[in-house]
Symmetry: C2
């Protein structure tokens, strides 16, 4: 398939049934009071491997032919995609080989290996990631699974949006964190198919405002990526297919600062009692920072992931007052 | 009623319907792997006011006569009971007056007032809490609502157990944190009514092992309460009615150390992505510390609350390696 449609979403939902968690849609009266609307929080931090990424990865790997599965999958990632693909491969009885920069935190390597993947380290300052991935895939005869720019990944991620709409019945607005745009494209597609007039808003860190600028330009543009704690969204440009699918469905994209994200992470901890990683908290950050007016509205908001250890959480949150 | 039975539980469930949250029963494969059993986690940290206490408080206040409601409720508490009663009173259109020691953290006062209660401060080293509470209740003509030693509080708390059994269908063991014993007595009653052979295990901090000692003695005994981070369970003796109800239903009571609790809080944060306060984490702590063998068993475990701010969480967790 060259694009993604509702049929692909339904097929993804079918493949994921009984495999991915159907994560809770939570409410928090304190949040409703702060923003003046009714907020439904989709908790993909409770998804397998701690992030929505499992949905796309499993949808991709479970769609491989038997022959492809004998030769495995390859990806380059030090983030949630690595662990998601590792687990998906194990569940589908195939092998995953993950390229990880040799300066990535040790915890990422350990976690990825714990899900059964083979980890190949590379020097990110010497080697070209793309060509290294291709080379490795060629050598192994394996299938490269891109972290977001792939119709199966988009459809898999979109099952998040399907579940939200099934449970919420209707929404005025859906707020979705976006990096490459797998979750945004998939969920926008799902939500609009369920309810054509739902307003879709993407959220990204202001340090990496490629979606906002691309939407303004009407085409994918490259931005300089500044430092941000939102490490899942540090990408210079939207995915090709992701932008093609999402752009026509988006009302707008708003950006949040690291300070906004910290405030949201703290709020989620203290008031909602859940753990969100920085990128995972961006959509809630947009709400709390008033980046979008939701007074009197019924709002869906996705927490995309919760993979952060106590030490990093503490380091990040302790900067709240400075930010 | 002098005791509590299934009818009271059903009545409590009826009163709480649409008012209390039906909190999720979560699973975590990582936890299952560590303990070698199948664990179902009842997340009362997601309950209103962040703890199971809301169930009992609302059951009590909503059972008051119209006349009693015109004169309000009184309690002495600096913990979750204070906030639970404050919210229950507001929802039932009555007033709550809460006695809080004047050295309690400011956050407790603020939170209790935020739910609409009147806060009366007292010097815990000068005044006798019990007589002060009686005096205030007499003056106001108000009803005293005890934090745990009350049939309505027990029945309300027991709806936690009802929900677990409804959703779990069956369990080998149910692990319940216990302080005064509201949650333990109520949930034991509910679980045993649903499934007479379910094994009930109470969990308390070793710094305050009054339940374990009382069970061994066959009657309520007083213990010296040592320092512990499990501030919701620092009580010298079980509640009278609580012990009467729970003792015949308990297989045993196990104790956990502060180090066990820290490990559980960290595990819940990093692996389950949820926030538990120290007392809230004690039952999970017992599992992780191997205080009870659950290999091959299907185990229900209650997280009783999640009220802890980031600062205290950080302070507590940072001591992990020392403990």
């Amino acid at each position: 398939m060259s694009n993604v449609d509702s049929i692909d979403l339904e097929a993804a939902a079918y493949r994921l049934r009984g495999v991915a968690h159907r994560t809770p849609l939570m409410t928090c009266l304190a949040l409703d009071q702060v923003v003046g609307g009714q907020v439904l929080i989709k908790t993909e931090n409770f998804q397998r491997v701690g992030a929505f990424k499992f949905r796309g990865a499993f949808n991709r790997v479970s769609s491989l032919t038997r022959e492809q599965r004998t030769r495995g999958v390859v990806a380059s990632s030090s983030g949630n995609h690595a662990q998601a693909l590792a687990l998906a491969a194990r569940l589908c009885d195939t092998t995953a080989t993950i390229l990880i920069p040799d300066d990535a935190p040790n915890s990422k390597l350990t976690a990825t290996r714990a899900y059964g993947a083979e980890v190949v380290l590379f020097d990110r300052y010497q080697a070209d990631r793309e060509s290294l991935t291709s080379e490795l895939a060629n050598k192994l005869g394996a299938t490269i699974v891109h972290a977001y720019d792939d119709p199966f990944i988009i459809a898999g991620a979109g099952t998040t949006g399907l579940e939200i709409m099934e449970e919420a019945k209707w929404l005025d607005i859906l707020l979705v964190p976006t990096g490459g745009g797998g979750l945004l494209a998939g969920s926008a597609l799902a939500a609009r198919a369920a309810q054509p007039n739902v307003r879709i808003v993407g959220v990204e860190p202001d340090a990496s405002d490629d979606w906002q600028r691309s939407l303004a330009a009407g085409k994918r543009v490259n931005v300089h990526v500044n430092q941000t704690i939102a490490d899942g969204q540090q990408l210079p440009t939207p995915g090709i297919l992701n932008f093609e699918v999402a752009a026509p469905l988006l009302e707008r994209v708003v950006t949040v600062t690291d300070a906004d994200i910290r405030t949201a992470m703290r709020f989620l901890f203290e008031r909602v009692k859940i753990v969100a990683e920085p990128s995972g908290a961006t959509a809630v950050a947009a709400l709390l920072a008033g980046k979008i007016d939701v007074r009197g509205q019924r709002v869906g908001v996705i927490i995309s992931g919760g993979n952060i250890d106590v030490q990093r959480f503490t380091d990040i949150i302790s900067k709240t007052s400075m930010a």
